[in-house]
């Protein structure tokens, strides 16, 4: 019997083989979304736990890697929804127009904060599309949405980010 068929039938050894063969790719995908190695390890195990639980729904003729990546993306998205932003906004958010390194540091911190304030579904696609520069079709496949919706979410994420940064006094287009 094929490995995927044995896995779908509940064979633990087949699951172990799939786990060992795919844990690196799953971890690499998750760590780029959550940006924390410890959390990514936990979410990798959580992903495979979900995979194991859903084994009866898996079509052995299907693409295991794509299925695993989609489950990993959902696990990472659930984490982003649960996680609260750790840093607080500073009192004085105004940003000077002068280009000194301290201000640039402040600007970077403000961008991180504004980015952390984005709704999870926007942060997910913005991280993958704008920071990691993954192709839209790959993001769409992993998130289980259309390419058009990925584009819409990236657009909205940029708009929200810009709005938030403007309210913080960071002007895009006028370099700080």
């Amino acid at each position: 019997m094929e490995l995927l068929q044995r896995f779908a039938a509940g064979d633990l050894e087949a699951f172990e083989t799939l786990f060992r063969g795919n844990q690196k790719q799953v971890y690499a995908w998750i760590v780029r979304i959550v940006r924390d190695s410890g959390i990514a390890e936990d979410l990798t195990v959580e992903t495979f736990w979900r995979i194991y639980r859903s084994r009866s729904h898996f079509d052995p003729a299907g693409n295991f890697h794509a299925w695993a990546r989609r489950i990993a993306t959902n696990a990472a998205l659930d984490h982003l929804r649960r996680a609260r932003r750790e840093t607080q906004l500073p009192e004085d958010l105004a940003c000077s127009a002068k280009a000194d390194p301290a201000v640039q540091r402040q600007t970077r911190e403000q961008i991180r904060q504004a980015f952390g304030d984005l709704p999870a579904k926007y942060r997910l696609v913005a991280t993958l599309a704008l920071v990691e520069e993954e192709p839209y079709d790959k993001i769409a496949d992993a998130a289980g949405i259309s390419v058009a919706l990925v584009k819409v979410r990236v657009f909205r994420a940029v708009r929200l980010l810009r709005k938030k940064l403007t309210s913080m006094g960071v002007e895009i287009g006028a370099r700080t």
């Binding site: 786990f19 190695s37 390890e41 990798t44 195990v45 961008i111 913005a126 704008l130 895009i172 287009g173």
Partner: protein, 73 residues
Amino acid sequence: MNQQDDKELQALLKQAIAPVKDTELPRDLWPEMLKKLDRQPARIPWFDWALAALLSVALLFFPGVIPALLYHL
């Protein structure tokens, strides 16, 4: 808002949040997976709960069947 501004925003974003370079898994996670598999309690199917609820309701409305039920147990 224009494409130039969007590119500048993306450049600023990448300065603030750098792409992850080290995506190498530092250790084998299979032992953690085994622990998680062991920790999970057996799941009781929903229809077992439904049967239990049905039986409770039946005993509540027809307490006379309790001795018969006990006799057959």
